[in-house]
Amino acid sequence: MIKLSNLSFGYSKNALLFKNLNLELQVGHIYGLLGKNGAGKSTLLKNIAGLVFPLDGACQVNGHDAAARLPSFLQELFFIPEEVYLPALNARGFVGSSGQFYPSFDHAGFYNMLEEFEVPADKMLNKLSFGQQKKVMIAFGLATNTGTLIMDEPTNGLDIPSKVQFRKIIAAALTDNRCIIISTHQVRDLDSLIDSLVVVHNQEIVLNKSLEEISEKIQFSTAVQAKKADILYQEDGDFGINTISINRAENYSKVDMELLFNAITNKSQAVTSYLN
C-alpha cells in the first residue's frame, strides 16, 4: 500500500507544488494518474519512488519510508520514467546485469513480452528507436514482478499497434499483490485499462476513486439523454453536447475520462464536490 500523509513538496520552500497531500493507493488496482501539464504528476510519482524528498509529511510504500531508498524498498518498486536510458548492451546482457537485483524477476516473461512487442533481443539496446527502448523498459519493469510498478507517460513514443499491445500486457500483469500507477496526459490511452482514477489539480489530489464508484454516482450522456436539472457539467462534443449528470437511476454508463478530466480541471467545482 502507498500512503502519502500531509505531504508537502516543492523545488523551493516558497513555491510549493503540493501542500498537505493525503493519498492512499491499494494493491490489486491499476491507477490512472491524470493532471494538466505542470500539475506535478511526475513529481508525485518521484516522491513515491524516493527520487525526490518531501519538505514536510511522509510518503510510505509498504511501510517503507520512500526517501530512505533502502534496497528492501527498491526491490519491490520499479519506476519507468518518461525518458528511458538503456546501456550499450543487448537485452540478454541487460537482464544479466540488472535483472538479478529483483528476486522475482521473470526471465521467460521478459523475452515473451519482447517478442510480443516485436523488439529484437540481440540488438544493442542503445541503438534501438525511442519507442523500442520504451518497450524494453516496460517489458523489464513488468518482468521484475515488483509490488509497485510506476509508469510515467508510458505510451509516449509508442505507435498505435504497440499501444494496443501495451494495454493487453498491462491488464494481464495485474495481480492481487501488485499496484500499478500510470501517469499520462493522453487519457484515451488508458481506456479499458485502469480501474481507478487519481486527478492532481491545483496542488491537491482532487479525485481518487474507482471507476465503479464514479459510474455509480454520475453518468455520462448527451444533453438530450440527460435530465437538465441533474447536469453537473457540459461541453460541446463532436456529436452534440456531452454532459455529466447525477446518476439518480443508478444506471451504469462508461466513464468518459476525458470529459471527467475536463470537468474537474475547468473552473466548475460541481463534479468534484459531488464525487467527493
Binding site: A49, P71, S72, F78, P81, Y85, L89, S98
Partner: protein, 260 residues
C-alpha cells in the same frame, strides 16, 4: 535483508558497473597510454635517450594526479543526467554500495591500472632507448627511489581525489572545471587570509607567508621568524588525511541526498 551492505549485492553492482562502462573506461585508458607514451618517448629522446629515475617518478606522479582528477571528476556524471540517474537511484542497492563502487573504481582500480600502464610504457620506452643510449636506463621503482616522494605523492593524490570526488557528485555538469575553480579559489583565499589571521593571533605585523609553514612577524622594529619544529612536520599530512576523509564522507551524504 541487510539494507546497509551486502557483499553479494555489492558484487552484482560492481559487475553491472563494469559491464556498462567497460568500453568507455578502456577507451579512456587507451588515450591516457597514448599521451603518456608520447611524452615519455619525447622526454627520453630529447635527453640523448636517457631518463633518470627522478624524472620517471615525477612523470608518474604528475600524470597520476592529473588523469586521476579528470577520471574522478566524471565518476558520478550519470547522476547529473535525469535520464541516467533514475535507473541508478531506483536500483535495489544501498547508498553505501553505490558509493563504494565509484570510490573503488576512481581510487583503487584507477591507481592499479595507471601504475600497470605506466610501468608497461616506461619499460617499453626505456628498453628501446637502451638499444642506442650511452648511459643505460633503469626502470624506476616509485616506492624505493632515492629521496622517494611516494608517500607525499600518495597523500597528494588522495587529497586531490577527495576534492574531485565530492565535486563529481556536487556538480551536475562541467565537474572538472567547476571543481578545479572552487579548489583554486579556496587555496587562493586560504593564502590571502593567512597573513591577516596570523596578525589577529599573534599581533604585530605578520608578513605574507604560506599556510602551515614558517612565519615572520615584525614587532617594534624586530623581525621574529618562527619555523615549524621537526615534530610538527607531519601536521600538514595529518590535515590532508583528515580533510580527505571529511570530503569522502561528505560525498557519501551528498549521494545519499541526491534527488532527480
Amino acid at each position: 535483508m541487510n539494507n546497509t551492505f551486502d557483499l553479494q549485492r555489492f558484487g552484482l553492482l560492481l559487475s553491472k558497473h563494469t559491464k556498462e562502462n567497460a568500453r568507455t573506461y578502456l577507451l579512456s585508458l587507451a588515450v591516457l597510454m597514448a599521451i603518456l607514451s608520447s611524452l615519455l618517448t619525447f622526454a627520453t629522446f630529447a635527453n640523448d635517450g636517457y631518463l633518470g629515475p627522478h624524472v620517471q617518478a615525477t612523470f608518474y606522479l604528475v600524470f597520476k594526479v592529473l588523469s586521476g582528477a579528470m577520471f574522478t571528476s566524471v565518476i558520478f556524471s550519470d547522476y547529473g543526467s535525469k535520464k541516467k540517474a533514475i535507473p541508478l537511484l531506483t536500483l535495489p542497492v544501498s547508498n553505501l554500495e553505490r558509493y563504494l563502487v565509484s570510490w573503488i573504481y576512481s581510487y583503487v582500480i584507477f591507481q592499479v591500472l595507471y601504475t600497470l600502464c605506466f610501468y608497461f610504457i616506461d619499460f617499453t620506452v626505456l628498453s628501446i632507448a637502451n638499444l642506442t643510449a650511452v648511459q643505460k636506463n633503469e626502470v624506476v621503482n616509485i616506492v624505493t627511489v632515492e629521496d622517494s616522494k611516494f608517500f607525499p605523492g600518495l597523500m597528494i593524490f588522495t587529497f586531490i581525489h577527495s576534492i574531485f570526488f565530492i565535486g563529481a557528485i556536487f556538480f551536475e555538469k562541467l565537474h572538472f572545471i567547476k571543481t578545479g575553480f572552487v579548489f583554486f579559489a579556496s587555496v587562493l583565499g586560504l593564502i590571502l587570509l593567512n597573513a591577516p589571521l596570523l596578525q589577529i593571533i599573534f599581533g604585530g605585523h605578520a608578513e605574507f607567508s604560506a599556510p602551515f609553514d614558517s612565519m615572520r612577524i615584525l614587532e617594534s622594529g624586530n623581525t621574529i621568524e618562527l619555523h615549524p619544529s621537526p615534530a610538527t612536520v607531519y601536521i600538514p599530512w595529518i590535515l590532508i588525511a583528515v580533510m580527505s576523509l571529511i570530503l569522502w564522507v561528505g560525498a557519501y551524504f551528498k549521494l545519499k541526498e541526491k534527488e532527480v
